[in-house]
């Protein structure tokens, strides 16, 4: 479509609409290339561009002839500035806390409320994630009593109704915690009580033969004493 036809039809063509900005030198490099290529191949567009350059030059000439405001305008401005309340204090190297404080004080009440709501939501979500993790760890049950026992998990304490022989056991002074833990794990021990003199009242739910059990316990390196509990 020719430029004349486009003008008759109404609005400018794509490149045609950019010609004034091309004259002012404010187009991007890409648009400048597009316009220059179009100007080189379209005499009608080139003719219009010559007209635009005249408009451009005369617009500048007209504006430059308008003069400038008097010094009175500046005096009026700075008198008004001097009359402004001295609310602003020059800031010198504000610390992090001051900057945070300024940030929050700059927020509108609505933004502040929204930020608070988001923070609360984050806390709730975090709690939910933690709860979900705990729930996953215990096999999906929402709680676990002291008497509950997972299939292969060692028990060190139980208040349930399981029955088994009980024995009083004293560990050797040089027994390490890791050894005691391993012992309790291997015998599936429930600690019923402890006494001040280092005696543990233990229940062995996986064993029925107390004499045999005691004899076995006495053979353990970390056990000093193993006797039947009353």
């Amino acid at each position: 479509m020719t430029v004349a036809k486009r003008v008759a039809d109404g609005g400018p063509g794509d490149v045609e609409g950019l010609l004034p900005w091309h004259a002012a030198g404010t187009l991007s490099a890409r648009d400048t290339r597009r316009v220059e290529e179009a100007l080189a191949s379209d005499p009608g567009l080139a003719k219009q561009y010559a007209v635009i350059r005249d408009e451009y030059a005369e617009t500048i000439s007209l504006n430059e002839s308008l003069g400038a405001p008097s010094a009175g305008a500046m005096h009026k401005l700075f008198a008004a500035i001097d009359a402004e309340p001295a609310a602003r204090v020059p800031v010198v190297r504000a610390g992090l806390l001051a900057r945070i404080s300024r940030f929050f004080s700059a927020l509108s009440p609505r933004m502040l409320a929204a930020a608070g709501a988001v923070a609360a939501l984050v806390v709730v979500l975090q709690a939910g994630v933690i709860a979900a993790m705990l729930s996953k760890d215990d096999g999906g049950q929402s709680f676990q009593t002291a008497s509950h026992r997972a299939p292969d998990a060692p028990l060190t304490r139980g208040l349930g109704v399981e029955s088994g022989p009980q024995a009083l056991v004293r560990f050797a002074p040089d027994a390490r915690m890791s050894d005691i833990a391993e012992f309790m794990d291997s015998y599936q021990v429930t600690v019923v009580s402890t006494s001040r003199n280092g005696l543990f009242r233990l229940r062995f739910d996986q064993h029925k033969d107390l004499p045999g059990l005691l004899s076995k316990l006495q053979g353990e390196r970390i056990v000093n004493l193993a006797v039947p509990a009353e």
Partner: protein
């Protein structure tokens, strides 16, 4: 405007936000003439334009802390001036003011036809530029004199970018019509 000056303007605004009076003087010295002329072309009254220029820069002093740097400082200044000029025009019933002041301007020199007789096409063109509507004047000035991009004009005037191109196109057609009526044929449209 160069990128360096734009960055420098932003630095001045940051200082003004801290209450730096000297930075305000520098910014005023740098921009007041062009902003004044933009306002004067809209309100067509020097006294009003001079009052507006003080108001524009007082707004800058008060609002500098809120300047976000999303546009050039000069674009911001022109947008403030435009807003204030249009408010002033509304206060003075702009239609009346337009006609009144346009007549005053015409009285100051020859009309376009006479100018053509003098073979002074440039002068006639300037004359016709003054006869454009406020809407057309501002877009011609923003693009040609204030060297604002399509995006910046859209931001200042508050219209879509495509409308900016279309509006300037029609302003130019109107200008061509005025010149044609004055006997000047430029070969476009």
């Amino acid at each position: 405007m160069s990128a360096t000056q734009a960055a420098s303007d932003e630095a001045l605004i940051a200082r003004i936000a801290q209450g730096d009076r000297l930075a305000m003087q520098v910014l005023y010295g740098r921009h007041h003439v062009k902003v004044f002329r933009f306002g004067l072309r809209l309100v067509r009254n020097e006294q009003i334009a001079e009052d507006l220029i003080s108001e524009v820069f007082l707004d800058v002093w008060r609002q500098a802390g809120k300047f976000e740097g999303r546009s050039a400082v000069s674009t911001w200044l022109l947008a403030i001036m435009r807003f204030k000029a249009l408010s002033a025009l509304r206060r003075r019933k702009d239609a009346e003011l337009d006609d009144e002041t346009a007549n005053e301007i015409e009285d100051q020199s020859d009309d376009p036809e006479v100018t053509v007789q003098k073979k002074d096409t440039g002068n006639a063109l300037r004359k016709c530029l003054m006869q454009l509507s406020a809407e057309h004047r501002e877009i011609v000035d923003l693009v040609y004199y204030h060297e604002k991009s399509v995006e910046e004009v859209a931001e200042i005037v508050g219209i879509p970018e495509n409308t900016v191109k279309t509006r300037l196109f029609y302003a130019r057609k109107k200008l061509a019509g005025l010149l044609q009526a004055a006997g000047i044929e430029r070969g476009w449209p």
